[in-house]
């Protein structure tokens, strides 16, 4: 073989080699494929999307003002009831307010509270977790101590007493729930950061002149993002339940604000005569919490089956 054909053959071989490994799909493409065949994720996300749209466009979609009381129409049957009408699809409550409208505004409140509270919890928990896991030593001991103190707090008791003292405004609820649910973020990110700290890419980033802050924000945090998203989803579900429970006990959101927990609480007296007044918000809570959990599980399955390495 002459030199020219030799090098041509070489070049061809190398080119086909590079073609070969570019066939490997990118991680995003792989994730997209896994996501598209994950039914739990699809169903969960679709339900969340519906709730989200309803919450955002509650002002447009709601057939009535959620606060408007029409005493002449109180306790109207839902559309499937004996005296139901399409005017009040899910009927009216004891004060003659439209249940469907209150449900829609309630979705807005639940999602708003749970998302912002989960975000606050994420910021607190992730900061503590990364600080402890990355720096180790005394800082880590302090973080572990704070986590233990937090774990020893009875969440419900603290939430009840603080809500009772301060009165249940939405802001108080958000702060309260944010400050009471950060432990899971801290525990998970701390142990993940500990594992990651000893990996070579952290050392090579240091050797490339990165500062510790840069490593935390540019190297560690992006690698934790998948896990944090999963915890946010689980945490949101928990927060929705706690918020509903507190409102139900009369220590959360104050009437007449439309909150799902409050709706259930207000319908207690009618439980045996108009069971749908309790069931409708109850089912809404159930579906949303379940959808969030399904989506969270799905995100974990899709993003972390083999890590992204």
């Amino acid at each position: 073989m002459t030199d020219a054909t030799q090098t041509a053959a070489d070049a061809k071989r190398r080119d086909s080699a590079s073609d070969f490994d570019t066939l490997a799909p990118s991680p995003r493409e792989l994730m997209r494929r896994r996501a598209c065949s994950h039914w739990g994720l699809i169903i969960g996300l679709s339900i969340i999307a519906i709730f989200l749209l309803v919450a955002i466009f509650a002002g447009v979609l709601a057939p009535h003002d959620p606060y408007a009381q029409t005493l002449s129409h109180r306790l109207a049957d839902p559309v499937w009831g004996p005296k139901g009408s399409w005017n009040h699809i899910l009927g009216t409550d004891a004060l003659g307010r439209d249940v469907l409208s209150r449900l829609m505004y309630g979705a807005r409140l639940s999602l708003y509270i749970s998302f912002t509270a989960a975000l606050i919890a994420a910021v607190i928990g992730v900061s503590l977790g990364i600080a402890g896991g990355y720096f180790g030593g005394k800082i880590d001991s302090l973080v572990v101590y704070i986590i233990n103190v937090k774990l020893a707090l009875p969440v419900f008791l603290v939430a009840l007493s603080i809500a009772a003292i301060t009165g249940g405004t939405v802001t108080v609820m958000i702060l309260l729930l944010g400050f009471l649910t950060w432990d899971r973020y801290a525990i998970v990110t701390r142990s993940l950061t500990q594992q990651m700290r000893d990996q070579d890419f952290i050392m090579s980033s240091l050797a490339a002149g990165s500062s510790h802050m840069r490593i935390i924000f540019r190297d560690i945090l992006p690698n934790l993002m998948n896990h944090i998203i999963v915890i946010v989803s689980l945490d949101m579900a928990v927060i929705i339940l706690i918020e509903a429970a507190l409102s139900f006990l009369g220590l959360g959101i104050r009437p007449p604000t439309p909150s799902w927990g409050l709706m259930i609480s207000e319908a207690r007296a009618m439980m045996f005569f108009k069971p749908h007044l309790i069931m409708v918000p109850g089912i809404a809570i159930f579906i949303l919490v379940m959808a969030i959990n399904m989506a969270g599980d799905g995100i974990r399955d899709v993003t972390a089956p083999e890590g992204r390495g």
Binding site: T22, S26, P27, S204, L206, G209, M225
Partner: protein, 343 residues
Amino acid sequence: MSGAHHYNPDDPPVLEVEDLSVDIKVPAGTLHAVNKVSFSVRPGETLSLVGESGCGKSITSLAIMRLLPKAARLSASKIIFDGQDLAALSEKQMARLRGNRIGMIFQDPMTSLNPVYRIGDQLEEIYLRHKGGGRREARERAEYLLEKIGIINPTQRLTQFPHQLSGGLRQRMMIAMMLMCDPKLIIADEPTTALDVTVQVQILQLLRSLQEEFRMALILITHNLGVVARMADHVAVMYAGQVVEKGSSADVFRHPTHPYTRGLLECIPHPGQSATRNKLGSIPGIVPSLVGRIDGCTFRNRCNYAFGDCATAQVGLRDVEDGHSYRCLLPPETFAAGKLEKA
């Protein structure tokens, strides 16, 4: 053996290390991980630190980069890099040197690139951080270097994630990353250990040619004497935190003097040469504990020639010939060929 010199022996050294020691606090006391190590490298020169696991060669390199774990204490009478005393620099000044004027390549290319960023982003980032300039400038530099290291389709490669590349390619990318800022010194800590043999050769050749082209000093840390023979101009053999023999690689390979160096050389298999009945050499025993005070020769418990004084005497480095020294009480003639079968 290494070919012609690629460096000028009269150049001032890029890095000059004198009496570098690293002590690590452990529950049992103080571990003397590195004990008064001295060496220097010139532009274009390759110095190899050789030794078995735990001999302190990696700790030495981390000490130069000032990346030691918190429990470790560094002391040295001199660590001069390019006219600057590294031991005296603030953490911030040190960070400006790392990746910029001193590059470091690690053992395992599978884990030394961040899995969530594209190769291109990682290469550009280090350039933008140290050299400033625009993203386009950084991208051009990255593409230029990728071509330089023999990558066929640089533009496309830069958009890929680390896990889409093979081990050899990733190590090439690490090398390219360290070259982004045109460093004066590269420290390569076992750069080929995690790669298979055919790729090892390519990576070493690449390092060698890049080093010549950019006139970089290279500190090559390895336990593989084959790699040393191929690459190094100078060798420092380390044992238990000390340099036990150092010199030009030709001298050390031709006249290994310290019993440990001789033992290491006997451990290399020579395919085809040794008949099956010839057992491969081995050095009996294990490395002594380095916790607490170290008296006498650290190699004495594994040495065929050890005698009474080895346990107590101060053993310093002394010359075999010009520029070739070893750390042993016995004169070099003791180890002349043929006498080795003693004991």
